[in-house]
Symmetry: D2
Subunit: 371 residues, 4 copies
């Protein structure tokens, strides 16, 4: 019942604080004989790594991952593979500037977890937010890289689709654009606008929220489990567990409240390949908590960073009222770096559901093919 673990057959346990010596995770339940080297993980960490543009925190962390266990030479290929034992991943912290945080040692940032941790535990590592820092999400990205290797046929991609009140134009959607701008934005025009917009936010010492969309393609029908192991419920939990996330939706999401039954129905035919074909995807690829074979579509809202230069009213630990201005190095839009994190969480959930499905039902597709 660890609250620093998630997943069931594919299970990840993370540890570490923002300014401690290291962060890391233990990935348990990974199937054996999957090729895995550090570089497979590093490429995903690079996408989340801070300090790569002026739109993220200027903290310089190499985020070099070390595999401490769980891999060995395959007896047939000689290549390094998983062994079925726990894979421990370690990332050292190298660019802590803890002095930046002396000012908030006893004062609570409004909108931040500072007060809640103190109320719960009576102690907290205030340096860089300690355990509540988004730095923890690097370990999620590392675990997600392993998860992807378990379900290599599933393509999982994320995009920033809204910044502040500004939504992208979905007609412009081009996945390739996401790698060409510092926002993971699939709409080149919107990305250009976000650049100047976010500069304004940043220079004002402010911050802004965002909406992220994750799409997983090619997952077969049948993953997920009814009632309390629902694929969408597990996605909701996984995405809501990301720092600063305040809402999650699947497929049509909140907009489905406005639809009639006939509008919302994803009608079915058979495709040219004689397989079931849906004529729309309001469901976002999940019905009854089980995947349908359509793209799985999840969106989540990220609130603005609470560490800002604008002064705010607050209290301190001694019982005094105070005003706070948070210096240090922060993301003006923490939603940006949430894109690779969201992808990683979806990858972990899907890998877990794949293994669980294989455990309960076996690998054969249950549904009869068209005669």
């Amino acid at each position: 019942m660890s609250h620093n673990s998630f997943g069931h057959l594919f299970r990840v346990t993370t540890f570490g604080e923002s300014h401690g010596p290291a962060i890391g995770c233990v990935v348990d339940g990974c199937p054996p004989r999957i090729e895995l080297v550090e570089e497979d993980i590093q490429i995903f960490l690079e996408r989340r790594r801070p300090g790569q543009s002026r739109f993220t925190t200027q903290r310089q962390e190499a985020d070099k991952v070390k595999i401490l266990s769980g891999v060995f030479d395959d007896p047939q290929t000689g290549r390094q593979v998983t062994t079925g034992t726990p894979i421990a991943l370690l990332i050292e912290n190298t660019d802590q500037r803890s002095k930046d945080y002396d000012a908030i040692k006893t004062v609570y940032r409004p909108g931040h977890a500072d007060y809640a941790y103190d109320a719960k535990y009576g102690v907290r590592d205030y340096r860089g937010g300690g355990r509540s820092s988004a730095r923890e999400t690097a370990t999620r990205v590392a675990a997600g890289a392993v998860a992807r290797k378990i379900i290599p046929g599933v393509l999982i991609r994320g995009a920033l689709v809204q910044m502040g009140p500004h939504k992208i134009d979905r007609a412009n959607w081009d996945w390739d654009e996401c790698a060409k701008n510092p926002f993971f934005c699939p709409d080149a025009k919107a990305a250009a606008f976000f650049e100047s917009y976010l500069d304004g936010v940043r220079k004002a010492g402010s911050s802004i929220g965002a909406v992220i969309e994750i799409v997983a393609e090619n997952a077969p029908a049948g993953w997920g489990a009814p009632i309390y192991g629902k694929l969408d419920a597990e996605l909701a939990s996984a995405l809501m567990s990301i720092n600063a996330v305040k809402g999650v939706e699947i497929g049509e999401g909140f907009a489905s409240a406005e639809l009639t039954g006939e509008e919302n129905a994803d009608e079915m035919r058979f495709g040219n390949d004689d397989r079931p074909l849906f004529l729309s995807n309001h469901a976002g690829g999940v019905l009854g908590g089980i995947s349908t074979g359509q793209p799985i579509v999840a969106r989540f809202a990220v609130k603005p960073t609470s560490s800002i230069l604008q002064p705010r009213l607050t209290i301190d630990r001694s019982g005094a009222e105070a005003e706070i201005v948070t210096k240090g190095r922060h993301d003006p839009c923490v939603g940006i770096r949430a894109v690779p994190v969201g992808e990683a969480m979806v990858a972990c959930v899907l890998a877990d559901q794949f293994l669980r499905h294989r455990g309960q039902v076996g690998e054969s597709s249950a549904w009869p093919s068209r005669p």
Copy 2:
């Protein structure tokens, strides 16, 4: 890792299909010596029970709950109390009309779980939706009634705040109104409108979505657990697991994406009672996955019922294309009866988090009082 269970220290396992002999649940981990009789549970089941207005399914189920285990006479008071052992609750199904479903025996309702269950398991109880029926939620309401007894100081109430595109006027919010209309709607004026609006939907053989809001007041600061046991992540999972739910948000939710850091910050002062006082509640009572002492506010979107009289394109199990019209008895707005279900899920999550907090941290409030 049961997918028919939820919760950790307070753990609920449900069972039963819509047209089987009975549905029920086992509530495990309830503390001992809490007074509990069937009537304590029945009053909540009455609120969810079908057939009470023309706006819900006309299936007539008494939904009488029986306590099969886990209670006995208290040695001091002689009153019936929980004993710390599992509380099994049973509700017999009495008004099944399975013949209604012969038409959909092999045909999939678009937007329903029919196809997904078949794709996963290769077999499904098609009568009334079987296990995927909202009938299962009666057992959640029963479990929620037990959960409320564990945290009697916490007031948990739900309301329908949107039907189709029509949102209530929050200025009219009056909790007492919820009991006075068949929609659990806190805005009397909106409720009057919904009556005629939903009549139209129903007569057209259509259905419509809704948004529900649950508010839990008086939970102390400190419940919840960082990272993967976050209070908001567990709420998201619990609410998303309810039939037909497609989105969940906490506090400001998706609207927080549009806010700046200074707008979103819930500033703090001390109140007249010398306790921390928040000047707003954008956070919805949760920061860093931990309760702050403010009201906990969660909303969820319910899609329209997929069983409608409007014909839709579909396929059948034999591999043929078909058209489907679903007769039987259905809710034109399944969101209505989701209100007591949402309350129950929030009650279960909070009871569990209370026990977990008490286990890890103990009962004393950690945060120092103001000098």
Copy 3:
């Protein structure tokens, strides 16, 4: 983290007290499309059922099981099969004689759980031992019957191998004998002796302990999981959880402490079928927590029934010292009926480990066949 559940992918939750209206269990995670009718379960309940000889409690319980959920007609065969949803099993209590227990309402039977329950919970259902009664084990046997259907190739049998200080002669071992005497004893000669021996114990108002051995044949190599999911650790937990069990051993067990490394080594060759062949089975079919393909052998010790007619010193709830004589109907050797219970627990553990193995590793045999 329910303490009334066990197993992971195959997960059983039990409920009910000895003198409540019913006992039962929910079996979650059973694979779909396995033929299952009540009679499949009933035949195992018959073996554990009380009142069948003078050597077990004279309580007359029909122990008729009802399947409340989780089964339906297979679309291809039309036969009743599991659907992948939770299987709820109910057994009504019919022959309670609660008055027998008025005498022990406030007095603790030495060696029984009475005092411990009161110390923990401050309340207990004293009628027939309440939740701590061996009556709960009927639900384990029911769950075990389902488990056996998941791994039909595995033959799981149990035997009483010691009663009091008297061990059977293993040279006489004949599995067929177990069904021919009221002790599940594979040694006909020992069984004849036990008859008169246990008559003496019974007439003296005393009780006696026993040792049970469970053997599971034909489980393939590879089930189980290293470190904390070890097959032998799960067997130990499952068997120790049976009422009155005080010790568990695998293979050579405690006797292995007396062996040298060369004596204890199970040497290996290849068999006529070109598969690995062990020349002995000191390991009891488990190495490193993983099955080896040899018979899995577990033994457990059952203490004597604590409800006896011999007077014993004790205390009562009010704080007085007392003497106790337990009337009511009790097993003079509770170890006898533990045989089918032990078999059931082993079946549940193996079914769970099979599903977990299939989940993590898949169905293919990893070990290369001999060239």
Copy 4:
């Protein structure tokens, strides 16, 4: 459902192989504000550390533990305390001699996990036994040191009570002796004998089994949970999960099979302090899966090390029959170093059960004091 984790509210996840760069564990759920520095853990690691006498492996490992996370300065005392977040502990491997294992790269040691790992996973780290090495138990000892801090009032001690066929004389039991000989033996006379006895075993290139006893004193009545969370079932699982353990017993254990009900009953009176007093402890401090307040007594049998210099018949991965002699550095009696490991497992189980009890029942003692 991680198979490299154990415990529930106090939950430990371990990782690492014998010859990898490091081993370690993540301790989750530790209460906040408990003083903890590395030295608190190191003192227990010193007791298990190899290479301290000629009776354990000659591998020289400093076993220096590093705390990577989960501790910080207490705001009131300024001392380093736990923060409620996960405590990651790392121990680097420094004295690997992997070449020793080239000979067993493809050959299976009889009685060892080599074959089982290959059968399950199709790959294994053969260097020093990889994940199946007893080296993993160092991380258990580290976790156990944290566990002890959660229940400081409970005194947990272990002793070697049998080596090969030679049992100690319990009349000579003196806990202080355990620290004075290299066997953790409480009987000075037996320890002297073991010295020459084990020299003989070692020189013969053989190995021998042992029995270990762990006693936990001063745990209050009420810890543990009925049915499947039983204190004794969790102890059985925890101890059976230790490398080479083949049997576990509680209190009278297997000997209870030979007792009558009246012999086995632990009679009760009130003590001078007006608290319940047991006149014997056949139960080993556990009734109905719940602690009684008496000393908790568990024993476990450790088989002889399977890595021996005596040649044994075996097979290899390629399908050939072979003979094996295991060189490398091994414990002639692996049971010796199992003593601190057994203590650690008992500490972890008790800390977990304490937190679970506090969660479900609260801290107040439920049983009424004597009037």
